[in-house]
Each structure stands twice: as structure tokens, then as C-alpha cells.
Symmetry: C2
Subunit: 155 residues, 2 copies
């Protein structure tokens, strides 16, 4: 049972975490932090709080906030229009992230550590006890095309 | 006359600035911060201290440290192999950056502010009184192909 938080509560908490960790945002960015609950209605357990810095036809950069033990469910980024799928580097800014990538042993990343996930490769991740902030550097983000393993998920 | 700093002094100063601003690096990253003086031998005035987080065939992400008033000279990123040149987003993490982009009024960026420079567009920038840290999100970086306006420059 969760007493689950609302999107506006999650947005305020994520903004406070980013401020505490010294990551400067504009007011516009603070007010429009994307709250992704993947359609599961259990945001505190399964979800992401996302600041999209830039997403052009070539490059995307985001800051991801994860609450303690918050989990991003398994998915992959398939090829699009003859291009390989999205390539993502996750760089942990604060906290600890447990990363699970198809075909590799589990990976634990602390502050300053990073991992690059190849296109079209299943992956999931969750924060440790204190939550985490992760910078994501990638090719273009097309979230609607992500393929999740759990068929209940709507992105 | 500059009493100019050595690369190892610049590396140590840049690492200290990044640590002070709460940007976590691995020891390997701290020890290999790239010092670019553009062949001019006046690093404190004209140069950059660079941490390359990732540079694949598709995506690049870097942290740039600029000392007070340190300047990156005018250049552009030309097309390569039929692809448009490098596209760069500069996001200021701390300090102030003055950015000069061909065809636009001068731009001043503070913490949390950013600007995307289109491919093949002349630009230069310098830090304000307190120096700056800038996250750069871009397509692949091929520094050796950059075209500088000052013919003395070697990258």
C-alpha cells in the first residue's frame, strides 16, 4: 500500500532534491519537471522525475531524479526509420543506481560513474536507499516508441 | 605578460573547481582533464579545461571549466562525411558565460541557462569574473576538424 504521491508533490520533491544537490534549473524547468508513472499508478515505487534539457533531431540530454528505491521498468529503444535505436549514457551525479542491462552482470554506479547502454538493449534501473540524480546523454528521445516488457505500461 | 600556468596546474585547479561545485568525477577523470591552450601558450587567458564524459559515433557530453575571463576563440564545426557539423548545447552549471554566435546578438548565460549552437556556425565564448562550469551536450566531437578564425591556432 502506497499512499502514493501526486504528480505535483513529486515535482516539488524532485525540484528540492535538484536544488539541494546544486543543480541549477530555470523557474520554467522547475515548473515543468516531467513526472512519468508509466501508467501504473504507483509513482513512489515505479517512476521517474525528468528534466529534459534538450532534445533535437540528433542529441538529447536530461536529468533524471529517482526517489529512494524508485524503479524504472525494463524496456528497450528499438530502431527507428533505418537508424539504430536510442543510445544512452547514464552518469550518476549523486546517490547510487543499480542498473540491469541485458547480457551483462548487474552494475552499481555511484557519483561520477557512468555506463553506456547500446541501442535496442533491454535495461531497467532503480535507486539505492538515498535516491539518485542521473544525467542522461543520448541520441534523440522518442519515449512513445520505447518497448516495455510489462504489457500494462503506457509511456 | 602572463606568468602562465602549466597544464598540470590548470588540471589541479579545474579539478578543485569541479569538486567545489559538487560535480563528482572518478579519480581517472580527475587525472586526465584535457587542457586545451589552442597552441597559443596563454592558457590563463585563452583555453579550456575539459572532462570528456562520453564521445561515441553519435553523442558527446563534456564538462568545460573556464577560469575567470578565460576565453575560447572563435571557431565553427564544419560538415563531415555528408553529415551536418557538430551541434552543441552549452548549459551553464555555475558562473556566467558570455557567448558570441554568428548572426545573433551577444548572449549572457547564468546557472541553469543554455543555448544550442547550430552546425557550422561561428562562435566564441568567455567566462565572467568568477569563471564558469559549462555542460556541453553534442553530436560526436572531432576537435581536429574545427575551423578557427585565428590562423595561429592549432587544436
Amino acid at each position: 500500500m502506497s499512499g502514493d504521491m501526486s504528480p505535483s508533490e513529486a515535482r516539488a520533491q524532485a525540484a528540492a532534491i535538484l536544488e539541494r544537490e546544486g543543480i541549477a534549473l530555470t523557474e520554467q524547468e522547475r515548473n515543468t519537471i516531467e513526472i512519468a508513472d508509466f501508467g501504473l499508478g504507483e509513482l513512489e515505487q515505479t517512476g521517474l522525475e525528468i528534466v529534459v534539457y534538450v532534445n533535437t533531431e540528433r542529441v538529447c540530454a536530461k536529468e533524471l531524479v529517482l526517489f529512494p528505491h524508485q524503479h524504472c521498468p525494463e524496456h528497450r529503444h528499438p530502431p527507428v526509420d533505418g537508424e539504430p535505436g536510442k543510445e544512452e549514457t547514464f552518469r550518476v551525479r549523486s546517490g547510487v543506481v543499480h542498473l540491469h542491462v541485458e547480457g551483462t552482470d548487474d552494475i552499481v554506479l555511484g557519483p561520477g560513474e557512468q555506463y553506456t547502454i547500446p541501442p535496442n538493449t533491454l535495461h531497467s534501473f532503480e535507486a539505492g536507499d538515498d535516491g539518485a540524480i542521473v544525467s542522461e546523454f543520448s541520441t534523440t528521445s522518442r519515449d512513445a516508441l520505447d518497448v516495455f516488457t510489462d504489457p500494462r505500461i503506457v509511456r
